[in-house]
C-alpha cells in the first residue's frame, strides 16, 4: 500500500469533501430516487424551492471547500493544477452548453435538461485533473 504525502490544506480539503459534500450528494440521491422517482412526490411552492436549493447544496459546498483549499494551500503548483482544471472544466461546459443551446434553438436537438450542466462540469474537471497529474507525474 502506498502512502501519499500531502499538505495539511489538502488533507482538510479531502476531509471536508468526505464529510460534507459526499453526504449531501447521498442525501440528494436518496431524495431524488426514493422521493421523486419511486414515490412520485411533486412538491410545489416554497417546498419545491427548498428541495431545489437542497439539490444544489453539494455544488455550493464543493465550491466553498475549493475556495478554502486555495486560500490555505501554500504549494503554488498544486493550486495552479486545480485552477487550470476548473478553468478547463468551465470552458468545456460553457462551450458545450452554448453549442447544445444553439442546436436546441434551431430544432436539431430535443429540449435538454439544464441539470446536466453540473454533471458535465464535474466530469470535465475530473478528466482535466487526471490529465494534468499524468502530464506532471
Amino acid at each position: 500500500m502506498s502512502s501519499r504525502v500531502g499538505s495539511p490544506a489538502k488533507y482538510r480539503f479531502e476531509d471536508r469533501v468526505l464529510f460534507f459534500v459526499v453526504p449531501l450528494f447521498f442525501l440528494d440521491a436518496i431524495l431524488g430516487i426514493w422521493g421523486f422517482h419511486y414515490h412520485h412526490l411533486h412538491p410545489d411552492g416554497a417546498l419545491a424551492v427548498v428541495c431545489a436549493a437542497l439539490q444544489s447544496s453539494p455544488i455550493i459546498a464543493f465550491i466553498v471547500i475549493v475556495g478554502l483549499y486555495l486560500a490555505g494551500e501554500t504549494d503554488d503548483f498544486q493550486k495552479t493544477v486545480l485552477v487550470q482544471s476548473i478553468l478547463r472544466g468551465i470552458g468545456v461546459t460553457l462551450a458545450v452548453t452554448t453549442f447544445c443551446g444553439s442546436l436546441e434553438k434551431y430544432g436539431f436537438l430535443r429540449q435538454m435538461d439544464v441539470s446536466w450542466v453540473q454533471i458535465l462540469f464535474f466530469v470535465t474537471v475530473t478528466v482535466s485533473m487526471l490529465v494534468s497529474r499524468w502530464r506532471y507525474r
Binding site: 453549442f99 439544464v114 441539470s115
Partner: protein
C-alpha cells in the same frame, strides 16, 4: 477605460475579452440569420450552430493566459475567486432550475443562457471579493 489599467497583462486581457464578447454576439447574429434565411441542415447546420461557442473557448483561453502572464498575485487571486463564484453560481442555479423544471413544472430554460449567466455571477462575485479587500 484602458488607460486606467496599469498592468500590461490586464490590458491585454480586457482587449481579448471585449473581442471575444463582440465575436460571440456577431456569430450568434450570423447563426440566427443563417438559420432564419437559409434553413441549413446536416453538417452545415451543426457547423453554424458551433460558431457562437468558439469565442467562449477563446475567452476562457484568454483567462488562462492572463493567469499565467499576470505578475500580481492579488489580481490573480481576485480573478480566480470571481471565477469560482461564477462557477458555483451557475452550477447551483442550473441544478435548482433543472429540478424545478422536472418536478415543479417550471418553464424550460434555454441552455444558451448558461454562458451570459456565468459571467453575471462572476461579475457579482468580483464585486463582492473586491469590496471585501478594499
Amino acid at each position: 477605460m484602458l488607460c486606467s489599467i496599469k498592468s500590461l497583462a490586464q490590458r491585454r486581457y480586457v482587449i481579448r475579452m471585449w473581442v471575444a464578447a463582440a465575436l460571440c454576439v456577431l456569430f450568434a447574429v450570423v447563426a440566427g440569420l443563417a438559420f432564419r434565411l437559409g434553413h441549413p441542415h446536416g453538417v452545415l447546420g451543426y457547423g453554424i450552430a458551433v460558431l457562437p461557442a468558439l469565442p467562449i473557448i477563446w475567452a476562457l483561453y484568454a483567462t488562462g493566459v492572463f493567469l499565467v502572464e499576470e505578475k500580481d498575485e492579488f489580481q490573480r487571486n481576485l480573478l480566480v475567486q470571481s471565477l469560482l463564484g461564477g462557477t458555483g453560481g451557475i452550477l447551483a442555479a442550473a441544478t435548482a432550475w433543472g429540478y424545478l423544471e422536472d418536478f415543479a413544472h417550471a418553464p424550460h430554460a434555454d441552455l444558451i443562457w448558461v454562458y451570459p449567466l456565468f459571467w453575471a455571477f462572476a461579475g457579482i462575485s468580483y464585486g463582492v471579493v473586491w469590496a471585501r479587500y478594499r
